[in-house]
């Protein structure tokens, strides 16, 4: 089945998860979503560890997409970071890894560190889970201001 969307999304905002919990939402029954971009704020507690923000789309046991900047761009204690997802941020090479790739931006005009990853605006079928999480999340870490530019169609 194919769908022609307009490419026009609307901003969806979501309730904050509890402290120490990651964020997830599910494409509702009867719909398909394309996520064109988004962000959330991550406020790290005073506990020192290497937090690694990561995003995935998962349907059943199948991961459709996973993205993270990985260990080079971990966040330590007391940092407040905008975890930003941007469409078509990077085209990956067929054979992966180029040493020294840097996709982070820091000191953006808002004065917050911006950890940017690429996302892919794939049509996500109903039941697909969109999840933001951090490896090594601590109990006092807080995700907030979760918002996404979502194109939704009824199917």
């Amino acid at each position: 089945m194919s769908v022609d969307g307009t490419g026009i999304g609307t901003i969806m905002t979501f309730a904050n998860p509890a402290a120490g919990s990651d964020f997830s939402t599910t494409v509702p029954a009867g719909q398909a979503w394309r996520v064109w971009g988004g962000s959330c704020h991550i406020a790290a507690s005073a506990t020192s560890t290497n937090r690694t923000p990561t995003l995935y789309f998962k349907n059943g046991n199948t991961y459709i997409y996973v993205a993270s900047n990985g260990q080079d761009y971990n966040h330590d204690a007391n940092q407040t970071v905008v975890f930003h997802q941007q469409h078509a941020f990077q085209e990956g090479p067929p054979f992966l890894y180029v040493a020294g790739q840097v996709w982070n931006l820091t000191n953006n005009p808002a004065g917050l560190a911006l950890n940017t990853i690429g996302i892919r605006a794939i049509w996500l079928p109903a039941g697909t889970i969109i999840r933001y999480f951090m490896f090594n999340m601590q109990a006092g870490d807080q995700m907030s201001q979760v918002g996404m530019l979502v194109e939704a169609v009824n199917v």
């Binding site: 789309f57 080079d72 992966l96």
Partner: protein, 145 residues
């Protein structure tokens, strides 16, 4: 390019020590938007290098995987003994580093329209006889040929 809506199709796991392949059914075309497979490595030490390929007839129209950056050196992101890694097939991805090797290993896929009888294969170089591929699924857009 017109993006299409697919559905997630899951596949039977191959036998231990065997790679995976499936063919686009007669009368259909497929476009693969993403997917994943779980690779559970045995205790045997080896540098396992997973690849994704699309083959039409004798033509390999897409091949992508994890290999050594420099020929003759140890592969940077091989899966070693006793690791359990989710291979994620996706059109682009963020930086690959050790994080992924311990959990997710992204492999570049491409949403080409594949004709009937095209073979989609997950091939792991140096696969051990007791390694296991499982949880294989792809987000597939299907159209009549």
């Amino acid at each position: 390019m017109r993006d299409g809506l697919g559905t997630v199709q899951t596949f039977t796991s191959p036998a231990a020590g065997a790679n995976f392949s499936t063919a686009v059914p007669a009368g259909y075309r497929w476009r693969i938007w993403g997917g994943s497979a779980l690779l559970t490595a045995s205790a045997t030490a080896a540098n396992r290098n997973p690849f994704l390929t699309y083959t039409v007839g004798t033509s390999v129209v897409w091949a992508s995987g994890i290999n050594s950056v420099t020929v003759g050196t140890t592969p940077d992101f091989s899966v070693t003994a006793n690791q359990i890694v989710t291979l994620v097939f996706e059109e682009h991805q963020a930086e690959l580093n050790d994080l992924y090797v311990t959990s997710f290993l992204p492999i570049h896929s491409k949403a080409l329209w594949l004709p009937a009888a095209a073979v989609v294969a997950i091939t792991v170089q140096n696969l051990d006889t007791t390694d296991q591929l499982s949880n294989i699924g792809f987000l597939i857009e299907t159209a009549a040929a």
